[in-house]
Symmetry: C2
C-alpha cells in the first residue's frame, strides 16, 4: 500500500515533572527539554505536568522558531499542566475538565489541585484536519488498594466520550499523555475499545526504547525503586494513541522512548521517559467488499461490540464500588456533623442551664468552654464541607453510571442487529488478555 501522497508526522509526549522548587533539577531539565525540542523539531509536542505558566512561556520563547504554534491549557487551582507545541497552525482549542479528580484534603497527593483535564487542539497538517488531544489522568499511588480507581475509570470514560464526540470531523486523531494506567487496565481497554484508538507501541513497525515500552523505569535516577514494586523493572503508563478516518489511514513507522538517561547530561529529562512516534498518514484506499469479507467484517464487528459491552459493564461495576465508598464517606461526614452539633448543644446546655435554673456561679471552666465550642464549630464546618464535596462526587459517579447503563443498552441493541454473529459468544464473551481492538461503533 505504498502511497506517494503520504504525510509524515512525528509526535512527542512527555510528562515533564515540573513542580517548581519541589521537582529535582527543574530549571536544568526544562533547559534540556527545550534544547531537545528545538533540535528534534517534532511536528507535535504534547507535554504534561508543566505546572508553572512561567515555564511554559520560557519554552514558548525558546521554541518560537521550531514550533511557532502553541497552547497552554488552564484549569483548577494550579493549572492542568497540559501544553502543546506544534509546527502546524492550531486553529481551535477546547478543554474538558474531568468531573472527578481525587480529594482536596489529600493535599500531599495534589491531584485535585491540578484540575486534571483533556485538552484538544485542532491542527491543519497541509489540507488535513488533525484533532490532537493531550491529557493526564489521576495518579495511582497504591495498586493493591487503589482508592482512586473509580475516579480514574470515570476519567477514562469521560476521555473516551470527549474524543469520540469531538473527533467526527477529523481526518486523523492523536492522543498523547500520561494515562497513569497499565496497558491492560480497565480504563485503558475502555478508551481503546470505545474510540478505536490504536497504541503506537503495539502498532509500530520499528521500536527503540525501554523493555516492553516502559515509560516509568527503575533505571531512572529520579524514580524510587520501592514505589515501583511489584514491577521491579518499571511500568508503561504513557502513551501515544492514534486513529485515522474514513478518508485517511494512519500507520506507525517507528516509535522510541528515552532510556532513563540523556547522553552528555547528568540526569534525564524527567522521571517519566519521553515517547516519540513517527506516524504516516495516507489517503484511504477502499478494499474489496465481497460477500465473504462483508460477513467476516460483521462477525468481527459483533465480537468487538460484545467485548465492548463487557468492558463497559466492568467499568460500571467499578463505578458502583466508588459510589458505595462515596455514600459511606458522606454518611460518616453527616454522622460526625450531627455528633458535633449534639456536643455543641450539650455544652451550651451544661453552661447555661445552671445559670438559668440556679443562678449559681458558672461551673463550666471558661477555657474548656471556649476550646470545646471552637472544636464543635470546626467539626461542623469540616463535616459540612465534606458533605457538600461527597455529594458532588456522588452526583458525578451516578451520572457516569447512568451514562454507562444507557451505553450498554444501546450497544446491546446494536448487537441484536447481528443475529448470525456468534450468538453464544457475542452475548457475553470473556475479554481477551491483550487484544488491541480498533473498533469504532460510531462508524
Amino acid at each position: 500500500m505504498a502511497n506517494t501522497d503520504s504525510v509524515n508526522v512525528r509526535v512527542l509526549s512527555l510528562n515533564c515533572w515540573g513542580i517548581r522548587y519541589l521537582s529535582k533539577h527543574c530549571p536544568q531539565r526544562y533547559a534540556m527539554i527545550g534544547d531537545m525540542l528545538c533540535r528534534e523539531e517534532h511536528d507535535i509536542v504534547l507535554l504534561q505536568e508543566v505546572w508553572s505558566e512561567k515555564d511554559y512561556l520560557s519554552l514558548k520563547r525558546k521554541l518560537a522558531c521550531s514550533h511557532p504554534h502553541s497552547h497552554y491549557f488552564k484549569s483548577g487551582v494550579i493549572g492542568s499542566g497540559l501544553a502543546i507545541f506544534s509546527k502546524h497552525r492550531i486553529h481551535d482549542t477546547f478543554l474538558f475538565r474531568y468531573s472527578l479528580n481525587g480529594y482536596p484534603y489529600m493535599a500531599h497527593h495534589g491531584d485535585w489541585f491540578g484540575g486534571k483535564a483533556v485538552g484538544m487542539a485542532i491542527l491543519n497538517i497541509g489540507s488535513l484536519t488533525a484533532n490532537v488531544y493531550v491529557t493526564h489522568l489521576h495518579a495511582e499511588y497504591c495498586r493493591d488498594k487503589d482508592s482512586y480507581l473509580p475516579h480514574r475509570v470515570v476519567q477514562a470514560w469521560e476521555l473516551q466520550q470527549f474524543i469520540r464526540h469531538t473527533s467526527a470531523g477529523a481526518d486523523v486523531v492523536i492522543l498523547g499523555g500520561d494515562l497513569n494506567m497499565h496497558p491492560e487496565d480497565l480504563g485503558n481497554r475502555l478508551l481503546r475499545s470505545y474510540t478505536g484508538l490504536r497504541d503506537s507501541y503495539l502498532e509500530t513497525a520499528k521500536f527503540d526504547g525501554c523493555e516492553d515500552g516502559m515509560t516509568l523505569i527503575a533505571d531512572n535516577p529520579f524514580i524510587s525503586k520501592k514505589e515501583l514494586l511489584p514491577f521491579d523493572k518499571g511500568i508503561r503508563i504513557d502513551y501515544i494513541l492514534f486513529k485515522g478516518s474514513s478518508k485517511m489511514d494512519v500507520y506507525c513507522d517507528f516509535m522510541s522512548t528515552t532510556k532513563g538517561s540523556v547522553p552528555d547530561h547528568p540526569f534525564p529529562y524527567s522521571d517519566h521517559e519521553a515517547l516519540t512516534a513517527g506516524l504516516r498518514l495516507e489517503t484511504h484506499t477502499t478494499t474489496e467488499t465481497g460477500r465473504d469479507s462483508q460477513s467476516k467484517n460483521k462477525d468481527s464487528a459483533a465480537g468487538k461490540l460484545a467485548e465492548l459491552v463487557d468492558i463497559v459493564t466492568e467499568a460500571r461495576t467499578e463505578v458502583k464500588v466508588g459510589l458505595h465508598c462515596a455514600q459511606s464517606m458522606r454518611y460518616t461526614a453527616k454522622r460526625t456533623g450531627v455528633m458535633g452539633l449534639a456536643l455543641l448543644f450539650l455544652e451550651v446546655a451544661i453552661a447555661t442551664v445552671p445559670w438559668l435554673a440556679l443562678g449559681a456561679e458558672q461551673p463550666f471552666p471558661r477555657t474548656s468552654f471556649y476550646l470545646l465550642a471552637a472544636l464543635c464549630f470546626a467539626i461542623l464546618l469540616t463535616t459540612f464541607l465534606l458533605y457538600i464535596f461527597y455529594t458532588i462526587e456522588l452526583k458525578s459517579l451516578q451520572g457516569a453510571e447512568d451514562q454507562m447503563r444507557l451505553a450498554v443498552g444501546s450497544l446491546q441493541e446494536k448487537l441484536r442487529g447481528f443475529p448470525l454473529a456468534q450468538p453464544h459468544n457475542a452475548q457475553r464473551r470473556p475479554p481477551k488478555a491483550h487484544e488491541p481492538s480498533a473498533f469504532d461503533p460510531e462508524e
Copy 2:
C-alpha cells in the same frame, strides 16, 4: 422545495421552576406538566430546573408510554436540573459542566450549587442522527450591574465550543433551554454566529404565543413585575435553536409559547412559558453553484467571518473585565487573610509576652482572648478558601480568554483567504453603536 421524504419533529422546551418546597404549587405543576406531555406527545422534550431526581422519576413513570426514552443529567451539589424525554431512542449522552457558574457564597442566588451544564443526547430519528442539547445558563439578577456577565459569556463560549465540536457527525442539531440572555445579548450572538444555529422564533413560518416571543412575561402570576423592569411586558430568554447539515435541511413550520396561563387550571406550568417548535427535516438538495452565486457566497462568508471576529473580540473584552474583577477580589481575600494573621500574631504576642517577661498575672481577659483567636482563625480559613476559589475562577477566565485570542487569530487568518471580499468592511469593520467592540490584535 416540497419533499415527500420530510420528517417532522416537534420539540418542547420548558424551565420547570422545580425547587421542592420553595417553588409555588410545585407538585401540582409537575402533575400538569406530566399530563400535558402525555397528551401532546412531542418527539423531544427538553426540561430545565428539574432539581429533584424524584420529580424526574415520577415524570418518567408517567411518560413511560409516550416517551419511552429519557435521561437525567447529574452534576453539582443538587444536580444540573436538566432532563430529556424522547419518543426516539437515545443511544448516547454526554455532559459538559461549565467551568464558571457563580459563587458558592452567593447561596441566595443558588446557581453555583446547581452545577450548570449542557447535556447532549444523540438520538436516532428514523435513519437520521440528531444531536440534541439542553442547557440552562447562569441567571441574570440585575441587568444594569450584572456581576455574573463574564461567567455567562464564558458559559456561552463553552456552549458554542461544545456544540461545534460535538456535532460534526450529526444530521440535525437541536438546542433547547433557558439561556438567560436576551436575543441580542453578547452570549446569544456569540452562540448563534459561531455555531450557525438558527432561532426558531425568528425562522418560524407560523407563530402563536406571547408578544415578541417572550418567555418570561408580566402576565404570569408567578412573576414579580418589579423584577422584570425596565421590561414591563416581559423578556425572551428561552430558546429552541436548530441547524441542519450538509445532508439535511431543517425548516421551522410553526412555533408556539404558552401565554401565562393554562386553560382549566388555576395557574400556569411554570414561571417561564413553555416553547414548542415544529421542525421539518428534509434531505438536502444541492442548488446551482454558478460563478455569480459562488462569489456571492464568498462575500457573505467573509462578512459573517468579520462579524464573528467582532463578536469574539467583544466577548474577550467582557472576559477581561471579569478577569480584572476576579484579580481584585483575590487580592482583597489575600490582604484580609494577611491582616487576620497579623491580628493573630499580635494577640499571641500581647498574651504571651507579659507572661514570658514579667511572670505577672495574665492581663488579657480570657473570654476576649478566645473570641479574638476564633475570629482570627475564621478570617484565615474564609480568606484561604476564597483565595483558592478566586484562583480557580481566574484560571478559567484566563483559559477562555486564551482560547478566544487563538480563535480570533484563526478567524482573521481565514478572512485573509477572501482577498476580494469587501476589503474595508471585512478586515476591520467599525463596531456598531451598541456594540462596544474592543479590537485587540495581540497576535
